[in-house]
Symmetry: C2
DNA sequence: CCGTGTGAAATCGTTCACAGCC
DNA sequence: GGCTGTGAACGATTTCACACGG
């Protein structure tokens, strides 16, 4: 009803497969590279080829959300980038808090690529009193007890958990009590949180194990000829 | 032929779904916690509940690889841990190299949880001459040109790429030329490598975007009544 | 009685193939 | 001619339901 030229309605984003949203991020990354490499347009087959997907997959993925291409031409990079950003929700700034300013937390704070993409870390927390009341990588570090106050005061919506496994659940609980809507968890534990809070987990050990499995079970090179 | 009591043969590990292997890592993590919490055995329903999967899913996943439980009893944690380790290939030490000793690379080197799980970082590399010829977090840092020599000399099998996006492809190429079998890539680019090399990518921006999407499209709390 | 292992059924995601448009 | 958008076919994964074992 809003746009009159649409043939099919986009589906409810809530029942888009997780895998599709994942690929959307990859399309975005690739499109940004293409654009800065001087390409103004691309096609589903080119995009797919560079990422290892079929052209049909690329088109189907985008079809969940609307129509973005021109038959006979392809996709205008700039346009599609804006569209994917809007879909993912990264067309605005998200205010983020980091819990845990140890080795990993500090590195993530200093990591270019966070802020560039629409996320701004505006506060950090740690239990260790020797790390608090300081500014690390441009971010003020508060004692853990202040999560409630600061999250509210700074309108923080997302939390990053980079504490040891044993402290992760209680850190996450604090963030949730303070009102964040989503948590990116780097600790190697499964968090138990109310269903209205979104969780994404990144476990380095797990990733290494996946790699390991695939290396250990890869086709032996001497078995294959050509 | 090895064990006589098996009803069905495990399938070729190469055609186990990727998602199954991912969950295997989670089972392992949970089992280790259970064990260190004093639980000697568990069941598919308990394991599933703690991770958010169904009991049938847990049993089906394990069934790809053999039979590990006892009807009426469940799974002996210690036994299942050993079995999963063997499946993943982490029942032995893997020798690993880190390329890129910037913010992220240094943090990962110092990150407990890598070495504990059967991986040992035995060398690091960087282009920046001010960072080389030193020992960082207990690991010798070499100039990038020495990848070939050191990977061979140290029998390194896996490479971690923690360099900026623009340097990632050439860093990966060097590792592959030197003979590594798998690469864990932290740079936000898709690597183009020969198919016999396994690749796992971890992109922080991508993970944040997934979180973002799920938060932006979660059920509005005020919309729902009961 | 509880819990595993596993075919069969149901669900979900991907690929095919082609109509329509530039 | 090339490329998108999309229903239909296909393939893969998840869930169901139950026989069998401790």
């Amino acid at each position: 009803m809003a746009t009159g030229r649409r043939k099919t309605e986009p589906v409810d984003p809530r029942d888009v497969p997780k895998a599709v949203v994942n690929r959307l991020s990859l399309y975005l990354r690739e499109l940004q590279q293409l654009l800065s490499g001087g390409h103004a347009t691309t096609s589903s087959s080119r995009l797919g080829q560079q990422l290892g997907f079929t052209d049909a997959q690329v088109r189907k993925d985008l079809a969940y959300f609307g129509q973005f291409g021109q038959p006979g031409v392809g996709y205008r990079c700039e346009e599609l980038i804006a569209a994917i950003r809007a879909i993912l929700g990264t067309d605005r700034q998200w205010r983020v808090a980091m819990v845990g300013v140890g080795n990993l937390g500090r590195a993530l704070l200093g990591y270019r690529g966070f802020i560039s993409q629409g996320f701004r870390v505006v506060a950090a927390f740690d239990v260790d009193a020797t790390k608090t009341e300081r500014v690390v990588e441009g971010v003020q570090v508060y004692p853990l007890e202040e999560v409630g106050r600061v999250v509210a005061a700074e309108s923080i919506e997302l939390g990053l958990v980079a504490v040891p496994a044993s402290a992760a659940q209680s850190a996450a609980d604090r963030l949730v009590d303070a009102g964040v809507s989503g948590i990116l968890n780097f600790a190697p534990v499964t968090l138990n949180l109310p269903p209205e809070v979104s969780i994404v987990g990144v476990d380095l050990a797990t990733e290494l194990e996946q790699l390991c499995f695939s290396v250990a079970n890869r086709v032996e090179r001497s078995t294959e000829k050509s």
